[in-house]
Amino acid sequence: MKTKTPRLALGVLLAIGLSTLVSCGGSDSASDTTIATTPVITVTGQWARTSPDATDMGAAYLKINSDADDTLVSAMVDTSVAAMAQIHEMVPVENGMSTESTMDSSAMTMQEVDHIDIVAGTQLELKPGGYHIMLMKLVKPLLTGETFKITLTFTKAGAVVIDVPVLEDAP
């Protein structure tokens, strides 16, 4: 959390500074967004899970392709959706963290990631059990059928705004 503010601030500046460059992007399709950035970023299959009752946490998933190496450095949502978005990864945990000497090789936890490198021509997939965009302190529940925007920021390509449909399960 301590290192988050500078990165978010950078993300905001990049988003503002580059918004004019990507204004010709955008797509009518909620499932395929190609933005006229350099490198060219294509986002497909994006979705956020319908949030269960009694929780204010959410998660969004997507696939990213780039025609040149780049780095995903942040994801942001409007404060009308959630207080904050972070890129998280599920990681296995050594059994030693348990207070009991049980064997549970499935133990996992979430951790925030600072960035994700994207290799040209290789799809980066954010999916359940791997990377996800975590939506923290949802302002209201994510309801099936709704759509909201996520701004992804890349080191080279800058800001890419995508429409994210809310679905109960992966499309």
Binding site: R49, A54, M57, P92, M97, T99, T102, P128, H132, D169
Partner: protein, 201 residues
């Protein structure tokens, strides 16, 4: 994770094989999930159940199965993924779904009250048991039965939760008959439930 992928790959292969052979029932003997190498009997474990006057014990009614999951409601990724897969698996098995019970034990009882966990589970199933351990000892005792692991730590105000992604399927003898590692899809879950509720009832 590699192990999980292998299970899933073989499961998909088995389903394709079953489809090709149509009415052959031999594949129905093979569960897609993981069968624990040593038998786990969880029937004597008990946990406080929201809205119930007595603690829950893990012995489903004869001819039924109970799916048990260790999770928490602030879990945005693993828990809802598994709960939705269970929900979709039940949709796939028609009337047999009435014989499938679901229990989630929160590993984060400091934040998950009886009411919160009940509302959370109601989002996924009309039949559920919201289990909220009343002490750390109670949680550790039930984890020991399932050989599960969890921890909740607060680092500078940020709460980090560790839990297993496995769902456990328990039969009416209180035995874990199959374990579903995280990522097993609803098709495989439905496949296993069909076997457990028909051929082995």
């Amino acid at each position: 994770m590699v192990f999980m992928v292998r299970i899933r790959t073989s499961a998909i292969g088995l389903i394709f094989l079953a489809s090709a052979l149509v009415s052959c029932s031999h594949s129905a003997d093979t569960l897609d999930g993981y069968i624990p190498p040593s038998q786990k009997n969880v029937g004597s474990a008990t946990v406080h159940e929201a809205g119930a006057s007595t603690p829950m014990s893990f012995i489903p009614a004869t001819g039924e199965v109970l799916i048990v999951y260790f999770g928490y409601t602030h879990c945005p990724d693993l828990c809802p993924t598994t709960m939705v897969a269970v929900k979709n698996a039940k949709k796939k098995i028609g009337e047999l779904a009435a014989k499938v019970d679901l229990a989630m034990i929160t590993v984060d009882p400091a934040r998950d009250t009886d009411e919160i966990l009940s509302r959370y589970l109601a989002s996924f199933s009309d039949r559920y048991h919201a289990l909220v351990p009343t002490s750390d000892a109670e949680l550790r005792a039930v984890e020991k039965h399932f050989q599960a692991t969890s921890s909740v730590t607060n680092v500078d105000g940020e709460i980090q939760v560790v839990h297993g992604g496995t769902a456990y399927v328990v039969d009416s003898t209180g035995t874990v008959v199959v374990e579903w590692p995280f990522g097993l899809d609803s098709v495989s879950m439905a496949h296993d439930l069909t076997i457990l509720l028909t051929e082995r009832k």
